[in-house]
């Protein structure tokens, strides 16, 4: 399939080149076209804003947003060349694909900061009733994940580590989908989970589960999601990649200003929320969705800065858990030449 698509693309490119040659002179200014992979989450708002407000066009890019159901297929689509740029959590799949020379991280997006409302640790009512009141009580309990090697897995082990017990002493339950995890947590089939604040708060408020801590207390400056692209784009199409990052950063800045720092007033919040609602919680009416969108807004890294320390820490954890080869290196994973790192 990958071959076919590549071949298809090659043919298309050839045809386009021929067409351009024939029509030489008629076309003076050509925009570069890119595909941007997105998930329908508030944390992907920078892409929605950059697209809707025309920031990609300003940067000379004809962008197309391609929605995905999960992070892993998006990473594979970038590896296969179907998608040019994407934003997703650092996962085992991402590292393995980077090791194979398919993709590179070029910037940061969602991040945890102390003092800013971040991801929460939740426990089921049943577990709470049986005495799980703080993270140190999670020893010997079950913890919900989407998949082995996902960010949830990383959070669970970091919590365990800081509380002084091995991650082997938590029973990890890969349940594939966030919806399934929520169901399992509500019915008490799993004891604990960690998740973004607006979902956590909603569960806490509705009495479905109890918040017992903050992830930020266990992981310093957690770089949750990163901006990434194919190795080819990162090394051979530097101008294109810079233009993309510039447009994306503009989206980030607007998102942070309006939704996090609330610098531009209530009407700007409302119009931006409406813009985001075109992509997120589309099945709910605006009135219902607006609260979730606003509550779910977490700071994105200004200018796509990257917390390289956090990325390194995550990479080391993946290696220690034998989820990626021990030879995996940060050089293969991150191209540090695009954004500021720290």
């Amino acid at each position: 399939m990958i071959f076919d698509k590549k071949l298809n693309k090659l043919c298309k490119n050839l045809l386009v080149s021929v067409a351009v040659l024939i029509g030489l002179g008629t076309q003076v200014f050509a925009q570069d076209s890119i595909n941007v992979g997105v998930l329908r989450f508030t944390s992907h708002s920078a892409a929605f804003i950059a697209y809707e407000k025309g920031y990609f066009k300003e940067a000379g890019l004809t962008a197309k947003l391609v929605p995905f159901q999960a992070a892993a297929p998006m990473a594979i689509a970038i590896a296969s060349g179907d998608i040019d740029y994407g934003v997703t959590a650092i996962s085992g799949a991402l590292v393995n694909l980077a090791e194979k020379g398919a993709i590179r991280i070029i910037g940061g997006a969602l991040t945890e900061e102390k003092g800013v409302d971040g991801q929460k640790i939740l426990v089921s009512n049943k577990a709470y009733a049986s005495g799980v009141r703080k993270a140190s009580d999670l020893k010997g309990r079950s913890f919900g994940l989407t998949q082995t090697g996902s960010s949830f897995h990383y959070m669970a082990s970091q919590i365990a580590k800081k509380e002084g017990f091995s991650s082997k002493e938590i029973s990890l339950k890969p349940l594939q989908k966030v919806g399934v995890i929520i169901g399992a947590l509500k019915s008490g089939q799993i004891d604990a989970w960690s998740i973004v604040p607006h979902i956590a708060k909603a569960l806490h408020k509705s009495g479905g589960a109890k918040i017992i801590g903050n992830v930020a207390d266990y992981i310093d400056g957690y770089q949750i999601t990163t901006i990434f692209t194919s190795k080819n784009n990162a090394t051979n199409k530097r101008a294109l990649t810079k233009n993309f990052l510039a447009a994306y950063s503009k989206g980030i800045k607007e998102f942070n200003d309006v939704m996090i720092d609330k610098k531009r007033g209530a009407s700007a919040i409302e119009s931006t929320t409406r813009l985001i609602h075109k992509y997120v919680y589309t099945s709910r009416p605006y009135k219902k969705a607006a609260g979730s969108i606003q509550a779910g807004s977490m700071r994105l890294q200004p200018d796509g800065r990257l917390n390289l320390t956090s990325v390194k820490h995550q990479l080391d954890w993946f290696k220690a858990e034998k989820l990626v080869p021990a030879s995996a290196s940060i050089k293969n994973l991150v191209d540090t030449s695009y954004v500021k790192t720290y």
């Binding site: 892993a72 799949a93 194979k100 398919a102 082995t148 090697g149 890969p174 594939q176 989820l323 990626v324």
Partner: protein, 268 residues
């Protein structure tokens, strides 16, 4: 025009082809050529490392599984679910199949329900199974149980429908009891079809173990394959798939053995 000359020719043989000869050496040779092509292709980069790992990498993944002892944990966990689910599914399938095959009242009541549920992909029922049976072993075993139950029911009562009526007549003409006819005529007559159905349900069980272990399985070959897939660790993915197919081969061999023992009246 001289004397007519006759051509004497042997009658050409036209009966070749369309029959299978035993070429035992072909399949290993094909397999070795396949391995060589795979190795060369991945080594010189003709086959991208995104598409296929090197054969050696798959071997290393196996080795890792073996030395860490994970192989036994994964295979053990899956085997437990497979054997329990398949055995129970087959057991209830045979009982229900016999009931439908022998009692018209049961047939009228159950056969339509069985026919309605049979084609439902059991994977689609996964969320329901979690609600009914939780995320523990019960839902995993039950997926395999349900997956093997329905094909077994249908195969068994189909087999009973196909039992030679004249043999049953014969039994009746000698005043054999209903129980004797069922046990000594109907059951052995349907046994070949039931056993060949075992091959199909064993394959179904192995297909379903991967789906069953989607949910909250820390150990198991299905969980291992899932994990490898979500990590995009294709060397481990292939190692897991090879283990699954070995399980299938072993099951097939065991059923072949059972057929040889139980149906020795059939083969020469």
């Amino acid at each position: 025009m001289g004397k007519k000359k006759y051509d004497y020719k042997p009658v050409p043989f036209r009966g070749s082809g369309f029959q299978f000869k035993n070429n035992y050496w072909i399949s290993p040779v094909v397999f070795i050529i396949f391995l060589i092509l795979w190795h060369v292709g991945t080594t010189i980069g003709f086959i991208s490392n995104l598409v296929l790992p090197k054969p050696a990498e798959v071997l290393i993944a196996f080795h890792d599984l073996y030395v860490t002892g994970d192989l036994y944990l994964h295979v053990g966990a899956s085997l437990k679910r497979l054997i329990l689910g398949w055995t129970l599914g087959t057991f209830f399938g045979i009982i229900l199949g016999f009931s439908i095959g022998l009692f018209s009242l049961v047939r009228a009541g159950l056969a339509p329900i069985v026919a309605a549920i049979f084609p439902v992909p059991k994977i689609a029922l996964l969320p329901l199974f979690i609600i009914w049976f939780g995320i523990g072993e019960l839902s995993k075993v039950n997926i395999i149980l349900f997956g093997t139950l329905f094909p077994t029911i249908i195969a068994v009562y189909g087999a009973i429908d196909n039992v030679d009526r004249s043999l049953i007549r014969m039994g009746q003409s000698f005043n054999l009891s209903w129980f004797s006819i069922t046990r000594k005529i109907v059951f052995p007559a349907s046994l070949p079809a039931i056993l060949s159905n075992f091959r199909i349900t064993a394959a179904i069980a192995i297909i379903l173990i991967v789906a069953a272990e989607l949910i909250a399985a820390e150990k198991g070959i299905g969980a291992y394959v899932q994990m490898a897939g979500s990590l995009f660790a294709i060397d481990r993915l292939l190692a897991g798939i090879i283990i699954l197919s070995c399980l299938g081969l072993i099951a097939n061999w065991l059923i072949g053995f059972a057929e040889k023992k139980l149906l020795k009246w059939r083969n020469l």
